[in-house]
């Protein structure tokens, strides 16, 4: 009989697409604004949504954490955005990159594009590019907005301004379709970011989630919390038959049996679904790293509900 945890894990993995759709809809709940060319600016916007979702999306219910962080560090009023960083750390500890896999609208967008049937390319050989996103986080989100300032000590949101394709997809495109003065104001910055968006979209068809893997500063931030997050992957070594299916199916190039809490793991649960002996599951809560516990102390593991033979 499967344990309760296994059932939940399999459920999450199987219905991930629907959860992503629901998360996208909740994140962009103000649908009428799409037609009005307006953006919602109520109290909801003082809180961040977990995923990368542009503040300027007409439907957006909350602020983008990366955008809000840059706005706060770049303003002359605040030296550092404790509030946003606090929210990000909290989300990182509670969920880690589960947010990428389940809640992020831009992640979902890339996945939908990847469903377009074409020959797919592997990113296994492109692993060094993964480190680019930490550079994006450090340089474009943290350093440049703080260091490059005008005479009043105000910086620019460099990531939003020069790189973020989500801003074009959710903000510039829908707003400019309906709002003529925004359309009139589109200039070289828009064209550059539209090119970035098109590049990301084309790459998304060929590769799995290229933006998440290589560029996303929010993903980079959550990645740092993957190891300490309350939500982790757990491999039951007593069940595992070392068939290697989980590593082969993983589109983020992670071997869950070796590194269940790898920074690249977005908790998508493909390995959970693929495992023929149901050895892989999500695990939520405090406690020592599950892999260690299982090896040394199977009894504790049993008490956790991991085994029921």
């Amino acid at each position: 009989m499967d344990s309760k945890k296994n059932i939940i894990s399999v459920f999450l993995a199987r219905f991930r697409g629907w959860i992503q759709a629901a998360a996208f809809s909740l994140t962009n709940i103000h649908l009428p604004n799409f037609f009005k060319g307006q953006i919602y600016r109520g109290t909801g916007k003082t809180v961040c949504v977990p995923g990368l979702n542009c503040y300027s999306c007409p439907g957006a219910a909350g602020a983008c954490p990366i955008g809000a962080f840059q706005a706060a560090v770049g303003s002359s009023k605040f030296r550092f955005s404790y509030y946003i960083t606090g929210i990000l750390i909290l989300l990182g500890v509670l969920l880690g990159r589960f947010i990428c896999g389940f809640l992020c609208p831009f992640g979902w967008f890339q996945e939908l594009l990847h469903k377009i049937p074409t020959p797919k390319l592997s990113t296994k050989r492109l692993k060094p590019l993964r480190y680019l996103k930490y550079a994006v986080l450090l340089v474009m989100v943290v350093l440049l907005p703080v260091l490059i300032t005008n005479d009043l000590g105000m910086g620019n949101p460099f990531f939003c301004k020069y790189l973020c394709p989500q801003g074009v997809l959710e903000g510039a495109i829908p707003l400019s379709l309906v709002n003529s003065s925004i359309r009139a104001s589109l200039g070289s910055l828009f064209h550059w970011k539209l090119a970035v968006l098109i590049a990301v979209a084309v790459l998304s068809v060929l590769f799995y989630r290229p933006f998440c893997k290589w560029l996303c500063p929010l993903g980079a931030f959550y990645a740092l919390f993957n190891k300490v997050s309350l939500l982790q992957m757990q491999v039951d070594k007593n069940r595992c038959v070392s068939c290697g299916k989980c590593a082969r199916i993983c589109k983020m190039d992670v071997d869950v049996t070796k590194t269940p809490n790898h920074t690249e793991c977005i908790r998508c649960g493909m390995c959970v679904k693929a495992c023929p002996v149901k050895a892989v599951s999500f695990r939520y809560g405090f406690g020592a790293g599950p892999a260690d516990t299982e090896d040394k102390n199977p009894i504790t593991n049993e008490m956790n509900g991991g085994l029921s033979q």
Binding site: L112, L152, A184, G187
Partner: protein, 306 residues
Amino acid sequence: MKRKSITAILLVLVMALALTACQTGHKTPSVKQQSMTREEVEAQIEKKLDELYGILEQSEQWGRLLEQEDDMVNEVYDDGSIYGSFLDALLEKHKDLFSQEELKTMESDLETIRKIEAELLVLEEQRQQLLGPEDEVDNPTAEFFPSFEGKDLDGNDVTSELFKNNKVTIVNFWFSTCSPCIEELDKLNDLNEQLKEKGGAVIGINIDTLDGDETQIAEAKRILEQKGAVYQNIRFDSSSEAGKFAGEIIGFPTTYVVDGEGRIVGEPLMGAINYPGMMEVLQDHIDQALGVNEMFYDENTGTDNK
């Protein structure tokens, strides 16, 4: 798995279509039923204007006179005449450039010009009456700037009557933590100085200060001072008509050009005026507001007829 991907693709398609639908729905202008009479009136206005310009263009003397003044200032004089009185005053100023004979023909030209202008006034009135309500609905660009009663940041009373005191007013919306807004403040100050000579002005509206929060006002004043911006900055209640208008602006800075009658000229400019290309558009709007034949302002396009 396959069904799931099909659903996903369908969903994206539906969303994309929804956006396109709203786009076309917005852009397609409603089919207007234009009565022949209105077109006739407009054609006649066009004809009269050609006649008027014809007089000025054909004679060498008028060309010589107009060279004396680069700025075709557009004052509407008491008698409703624009050119007549302007040219009259100009001719008075440069009388000595012309011979007695030339002056005589010019006087008679002036007579004709005044006559044409009088006819144009009547025609324009007719045209205004023929404009149906749908012209106004379809025509967001010819809206009036909402009226307001408020104060400037120094506490002096201001109302929307201020538009009537200027030939053109540049209204710049900004807020204190918006860095592109702040970067253009000195440019706006320069513009204010330039416009002063032409009877125009720049006013700023810092939306943080709208409801009179003392710390926000102090912050706005500090920034203005630091950027050397001395033009008037005003505020009003955010619950007022103008306050709601300001509340609907989604991008900052946004700059409106308002003509001497309080009418918004063209589309608002979104983005700082020091961005490439913005100054040209702004100048274009200003010229429109100052346009010599502002009486014949085209209500449908927000542009000048001529």
